[in-house]
């Protein structure tokens, strides 16, 4: 089976073909053996003799994982050919944070709202400040746009994932 793998935010998609105990990455063949380390979320990969220990935590959605290797934590996504084909036909692929609504990344207290509805914001502009774990956390606009809705007010306690501010930007579609 052939998989199309995206690593973090790297632009290129890697084609990985799995066939028995062999894999080919972008056409180059390797011997590969993956074994789960019992009682842990760790996997041990032998890839053409190279030894790699990788921690795997399932992500949101089929084919998505957060992998940990040599101290780094990296999100990956592997889709098979058919899924990829469907994605191409519908003209979209799953994108992280495609929503124009900024959500609370953790539970906390809204201590500042820096924008009002209808206001034009640049990418990186401060929208809301949420205090959690003794720290004030600035939430910024991921892209330029217009503030369509402010969902919270100062002093409000928010749960993780609560909508804070919706920013509409023309380039969001597609």
């Amino acid at each position: 089976m052939k998989y199309f793998v995206r690593i973090a935010d790297l632009p290129q998609i890697l084609e990985v073909e799995v066939e028995g105990g062999r894999v080919s990455v972008a056409g180059a063949p390797y011997e590969a053996h993956l074994a789960a380390v019992p009682g842990t979320p760790l996997y041990h990969l032998l890839l053409a003799g190279e030894s790699w220990t990788v921690a795997a935590q399932p992500g949101e959605g089929i084919g998505r994982w957060t992998l940990g290797v040599v101290g780094e934590r990296i999100e990956v996504e592997a889709v098979d050919e058919r899924t990829r084909h469907v994605q191409e036909l519908t003209g979209r692929r799953p994108v992280r944070a495609a929503s124009g609504t900024i959500q609370a990344p953790m539970p906390g207290l809204v201590v500042r709202v820096a924008v009002t509805e209808g206001q034009r914001v640049e990418a990186g502009a401060e929208l809301v400040v949420v205090e959690a774990m003794k720290m004030e956390n600035q939430l910024r606009a991921p892209r330029a746009g217009v503030v369509a809705k402010v969902h919270v007010a100062v002093g409000e306690a928010v749960e993780k994932g609560a909508p804070l501010v919706t920013v509409e930007s023309p380039e969001l579609s597609g």
């Binding site: 793998v5 190279e50 795997a56 940990g68």
Partner: protein
């Protein structure tokens, strides 16, 4: 002084565990306290006795003086160790502990008061001949006065809360036009954070290092300095990486700063462990910043290069014994580095994360120390600070210590929530850090490039293969193979699938 045989540890997390370990080595019994959120925390399990003190929010538990003192009394403790944070620098708590007939493991309440008021501390240091950061030694009454002082000092200046700490109630002002608004903002923030809106003015020093001196003082009149820690790698006044010694200190400068620190401690009748923070300029000129009248998070780097167990010394000093630090040991040996492993996502503006620690593999091997407070299965909540553990290494030289830290960080595995681990690893490999070219703007200057979220080239292929093989395993699990092919034992779904496919060929 009263014999101490049982100590109440009025804290949680890694520092509670650190103090309990010191108690046990001193052959003392430790009593833990815990909020509802910490019922299963390691510090609770490590102690001889454990007392519930209330609901998860700190104001209802770890900041509740009455409950803590009652817990100490009901369990027959003779002393209370406050750790850091929470009540450690609250003079009323030190007073209340003493009034309850218990020993407060820390300085006298008067020393906490003197150093807690930042302008009084500045006046005292001036009187003791310790250089202070240029600025006012009294609160300024209004923005107009602040403007006059700022003009006298020269812009940029810092407006700081008199009752301050941790960067709250602080504003950097570049030019006169910004002053009015900044003054109001600093006052408001100080009022909210500390209940007192007084603000004073300090000259803003350009790119100094943060260098602090550890002091220990006993009740037999001895005050010693255990050298410096360099803590220039900070984010919004929160330290991220600390080391000892500092590459910027010659033995002569170390001596001068140590003398200033012991003079500072002596001037307030200090007893126990404390830290004098200085800003150090490029020409070796240093200025008193503030004194922390408690055990410091980063105390382990000093312990490793001076061979002194600071917490055990605190316990001995509290019992009225002379400290076991000998003049001959007062030179640093080797080099130590500490990385604070926090549940913050460095690739997302250090946003704090909560969640369950699904898996933890702690680094070990030569020269590695792990001061942790969370174990596998524990939940990191929003109620307390995001420190998971301190990873500390020692090496003969700074270069060896950096290599060792890099190795240890690569061994560390944390699954379940994002942490600062990758940030530390990247700092260890960053050339200006390796050359020791540090100042408190390091993160602002180097951070953005350091944290460009590019995975290392060498991990791309193995990660792609793991992702594909995991996807294959997932697919095999979702679509069961024909009955005849189904194995009875499944060590790993993917290994099985590979075997099956191999058999078919």
């Amino acid at each position: 002084m009263a014999e101490i045989s049982r100590v109440l540890v009025a804290n949680r997390g890694e520092i509670a565990l650190r103090i309990i370990r010191a108690c046990h080595e001193e052959r003392l019994e430790a009593v833990a306290v815990y909020s509802q959120a910490d019922r299963l925390s390691p510090h609770v399990r490590a102690a001889e006795l454990a007392v519930p003190i209330g609901p998860a929010p700190a104001v209802d538990s770890y900041l509740n003086m009455g409950r803590l003192i009652e817990a100490a009394r009901s369990t027959g403790c003779q002393a209370i160790h406050p750790g850091y944070g929470f009540l450690s620098e609250r003079a009323p708590f030190a007073d209340a502990v003493a009034r309850a007939g218990l020993v407060f493991i820390g300085p006298p309440a008067a020393a906490i008061v003197a150093m807690g008021d930042k302008t009084e501390a500045r006046r005292r240091m001036q009187a003791a001949g310790v250089p202070i950061v240029p600025g006012t030694t009294q609160a300024v009454s209004d923005a107009k006065r602040a403007r006059y002082e700022a003009t006298r000092l020269g812009f940029p200046v810092l407006l700081k809360a008199v009752a301050g700490g941790g960067g709250k109630g602080m504003r950097l002002v570049h030019e006169p036009a910004e002053l009015e608004a900044a003054f109001q903002a600093a006052q408001g923030e100080a009022l909210r954070a500390f209940g007192a809106g007084d603000v004073y003015v300090e000259k803003y020093l350009q790119r100094p290092r943060h260098v602090e001196i550890q002091v220990l003082a006993d009740t037999h009149g001895r005050v010693v300095a255990l050298g410096e820690r360099e803590c220039s790698i900070q984010r919004r006044h929160q330290k991220l990486i600390e080391e000892a010694p500092s590459v910027a200190l010659s033995p002569a400068l170390r001596r001068r700063m140590s003398e200033a620190a012991t003079a500072a401690a002596g001037s307030v009748g200090y007893v126990g462990a404390g830290t004098i923070e200085f800003l150090l300029g490029p020409g070796g000129e240093f200025h008193f910043l503030e004194m922390n009248t408690r055990l410091q998070v980063e105390h382990p780097v000093t312990e490793l290069v001076y061979g002194v167990d600071i917490v055990r010394e605190q316990l001995r000093i509290a019992a009225g014994k002379p400290m076991r630090v000998h003049a001959g040991t007062l030179n640093p040996r080797g080099h130590a580095i500490e990385c604070r492993i926090t549940s913050e996502d460095p690739f997302n503006d250090f946003l704090p994360a909560t969640g369950v620690l699904r898996y933890l593999r702690v680094p070990s091997g030569p020269g590695v120390r792990w001061d942790g407070g969370v174990e596998q299965g524990n939940e990191v909540t929003l109620f307390y600070d995001p420190l998971i553990a301190k990873l500390i290494v020692w090496g003969d030289t700074r270069e060896i210590a950096i290599q060792r830290m890099r190795r240890a960080l690569r061994e560390l595995v944390i699954v379940g929530l994002p942490t600062s681990q990758a940030f530390h690893l990247r700092v260890m490999e960053e050339p200006t850090f390796q050359r020791g070219e540090l100042d408190i703007t390091y993160l602002e200057r180097v951070g953005p490039a350091l944290l460009a979220p590019e995975p290392r080239a060498e991990v791309v292929r193995p990660l792609a293969v793991v992702a594909a093989l995991l996807a294959e395993e997932q697919r095999a699990a979702a679509v069961p193979p024909p009955l005849s092919d189904r194995p009875t034992v499944r060590p790993s779904g993917w290994v099985d699938a590979a075997v099956r496919e191999g058999l078919r060929e």
